[in-house]
């Protein structure tokens, strides 16, 4: 298992080279820069956070006895708590720093991207949230394989999960190392090891209970900190956004252009493809889907998306204000810039640490060094919480889907499965540290985009088709899912961003940076086609089994019993 996992990760490593990704996901990258001096108040606040979360982990460990506790917090999380935890999973340091940095650099274009990250949530609520809760137990593979054959479908779902987790985790680890180096003055390697070690402790000892509470605390801190910053910015302008925009237009080198769409979305195919990846990728992220099993029933699952959408939407509005605050309060102050010998500086690119540090510098401008320390600690906490969620999703795919269902064919003692899951969490953590170290100097911006493309083109189509279309057969889902996964990865590799900018070839073999429009069509089309032509007895039985699945997915009848055993 370890070797398989290692080679899987190593395979993905081949995709990693320098080069940019000309789309929204580039905003998710945290670039390196000059290391700051040791930031004492940030370190103290961070240690308070770590101590509190370790305390929670100890408490969670004492409550985590069964597999249901470990994977799904025993189903005991409320809708409101889960909404906060989902928001916590989704509001990564990259989206906080990346989107406010994008607003700082381009103004309105930053808003276009934050909108894209949000609109997947209503779709999740309307189409999948309640059905997931009604059908599943611990992982989304439980749902996809509900009436289909366990071995192929769980293998597919676990592959999709591990692929998404790996891409996402690499981007987060490298970003974490750079960010912590910048904020705390800690060497890159120490930072990566610290993040990896803490996420192992949270997941292996505290399971889903600890992971959820780490998310909730982090979401509260991040929303609180961002609210304070936006409030201080607005207060500077007497709570008139018009006054804030006017000042920003005067100061920003692009002037009035920051108030309108710029060149980031020009060609409609790319724009639609990006929109699809953001919208439906969200609905295929394994660590997000897992959260729906932590609540008691479909009603609580529904409520959690409502709260999560509210928190995330509010957060994106805050990042927009923070970006404009950074324009107005930082751009005229040389203290935040690398100033040339002749006293001049570029108001966008010369900001210390890169545009992604705009929010961090703004924290200093509105709240002084103590608040800067607080926001730095929150950014660190944010990374920790997100990687913990990803690690748990990856570990569950290994133990619950690959081991318990595929290898042991369902004949495995619960405590053994949980032990294996903890071991998998440790292995994933160590691999993540190694990859974080190896890829220190690579540009990993496109990895998050790749994670979303795979989630939208493999996990989501398989999940949706198995739940909604009676005709879906195991063979159809298996072929379609893998074609979606392979085509998404292949098209990203052949895209201008990777093929030309990374590998140095002259012309891209695939013209768009976002494959979702095409890879999703391939996945849905081939699930349909290969199910249609599947005339096997097994496919017939699977179609007949749809009726019972349908009743349960719509009403939840039978779901409670499944959880209790």
């Amino acid at each position: 298992m370890m070797r398989a996992l290692n080679s899987l990760f190593a395979g993905f490593g081949l995709l990693l080279f320098t080069g940019g990704f000309r789309d929204a996901f580039a905003a998710g990258a945290v670039e390196g820069g000059d290391r700051q001096g040791l930031n004492v108040s940030a370190i103290i606040m961070f240690f308070i956070f770590v101590a509190a979360t370790l305390g929670i982990t100890k408490w969670a460990a004492s409550r985590t006895r069964s597999a249901a506790d470990f994977y799904a917090a025993g189903g005991g999380i409320t809708g409101f708590q889960n909404g906060l935890a989902i928001a916590g999973d989704y509001m990564s340091a990259a989206s906080f720093l990346g989107i406010s940095g994008l607003v700082f650099a381009t103004g309105f274009d930053g808003l276009i991207y934050s909108v894209g990250w949000l609109v997947g949530w209503p779709i999740i609520l309307f189409l999948v949230a309640e059905r997931l809760r009604n059908l599943g137990k611990y992982t989304f593979a439980d749902v996809a394989a509900f009436r289909l054959e366990q071995t192929p479908i769980r293998t597919l779902a676990a592959t999709g999960t591990l692929t998404v987790v790996a891409f996402y985790l690499i981007a987060q680890m490298v970003g974490a190392g750079k960010l912590i180096e910048l904020l705390f003055g800690l060497p890159y390697l120490y930072a990566v090891v610290l993040v990896g070690a803490l996420m192992i402790v949270y997941v292996a000892f505290g399971g889903m209970v600890a992971t959820t509470w780490v998310q909730i605390i982090k979401a509260g801190l991040l929303l609180g900190g961002a609210t304070f910053m936006a409030f201080m910015v607005l207060a500077t302008f007497g709570f008139s956004t018009e006054a804030m925009f006017r000042a920003a237009v005067d100061i920003h080198p692009k002037h009035a252009a920051i108030m309108a769409p710029g060149g980031l979305v020009s060609d409609p195919i790319s724009a639609i493809s990006l929109g699809l990846a953001l919208m439906f990728g969200t609905a295929g992220l394994p660590h997000i889907l897992m959260r729906f099993f932590t609540v008691a029933d479909a009603k609580a699952a529904r409520k959690s998306v409502f709260y999560a959408t509210g928190f995330i939407g509010y957060f994106y509005i805050l990042t927009f204000i923070i970006g404009f605050g950074a324009i107005t309060l930082l751009m005229n102050d040389p203290a935040y810039f690398k100033v040339a010998a002749n006293g001049t500086y570029n108001k966008i690119t010369d900001i210390l640490g890169g545009t992604n540090m705009a929010a961090i510098h703004l924290a200093n401008a509105v709240g002084g060094s103590l608040f800067l320390g607080f926001i730095s600690a929150v950014a660190f906490a944010t990374i920790l919480a997100v990687v913990a969620g990803l690690t748990l999703a990856g570990a569950s795919a290994v133990s619950h889907d690959l081991y318990a269902s595929v290898i042991a064919k369902g004949k495995v003692a619960e405590d053994k499965e949980v032990r294996l899951s903890k071991l998998a969490a440790i292995v994933i953590g160590i691999v993540a540290i190694m990859l974080g170290y190896i890829f220190e100097n690579q540009n990993v911006a496109f990895m998050v985009g790749l994670a979303f493309a795979v989630a939208a083109s493999c996990n989501f189509p398989v999940l949706l088709m198995s739940v909604f279309w009676k005709g879906t057969s195991s063979r159809g889902a298996l072929i379609g899912g893998f074609l979606g996964l392979i085509s998404a990865v292949a098209m990203v590799v052949l895209s201008p961003a990777v093929w030309v900018k990374t590998f140095g070839f002259k012309a891209a073999l695939f013209p768009y940076d976002n494959p979702a429009l095409f890879s999703m069509a391939i996945a849905f089309g081939s699930i349909w086609l290969f199910s249609k032509v599947d005339a096997s007895a097994r496919a017939r039985a699977e179609r007949e089994a749809f009726e019972a699945q349908y009743v349960r997915s719509e009403t939840g009848i039978g779901a409670a019993e499944a959880l209790a055993h």
Binding site: F108, L111, I112, S114, V115, G116, L118, V119, W121, P122, I123, L125, F126, L127, E130, T241, E242, F245, R246, V249, A256, M259, A260, P261, V265, S266, D267, P268, A271, I272, G275, M279, K299, R302, K303, V305, F306, T309, G310, G313, Y316, I317, A545, E547, A548, Y550, V551, R552, E554, T555, G556, I557, G558, E561
Partner: protein, 101 residues
């Protein structure tokens, strides 16, 4: 619960009513969200000038409230769904469960 026990629910009129109403409502809301979002993207791709118009004599452009509207509409749509589900769909589900006993 064995699958056989739940199968007859499939033909229960209440169940069919629940599924028909909820599925329709969910698809209408999904379509609304898709139209709002891809409409926004289409304006940006084909007619960005539309969003660049300032409101009155200020510097604030119409793009700002429209962008905010898309964000708020996502939240409002989830609220509409939750409200309807709590008020209309859950009681039907409870009735179906009562009938099963």
């Amino acid at each position: 619960m064995a699958a056989n026990d739940t199968l007859h629910i499939r033909h229960e009129p209440l169940f069919q009513e629940l599924v028909r109403k909820r599925t329709r409502f969910a698809w209408i809301l999904s379509a609304t969200m898709l139209v709002i979002y891809f409409g926004f993207i289409a304006i940006i791709a084909f007619a960005p000038k539309l969003l660049a118009q300032p409101i009155g004599n200020g510097v604030t452009t119409v793009g700002i409230p429209i962008g905010l509207f898309v964000i708020v509409s996502a939240f409002v749509l989830t609220g509409i769904y939750v409200r309807r589900a709590n008020a209309k769909f859950d009681p039907i589900t409870r009735q179906i469960m009562e009938k099963m006993k």
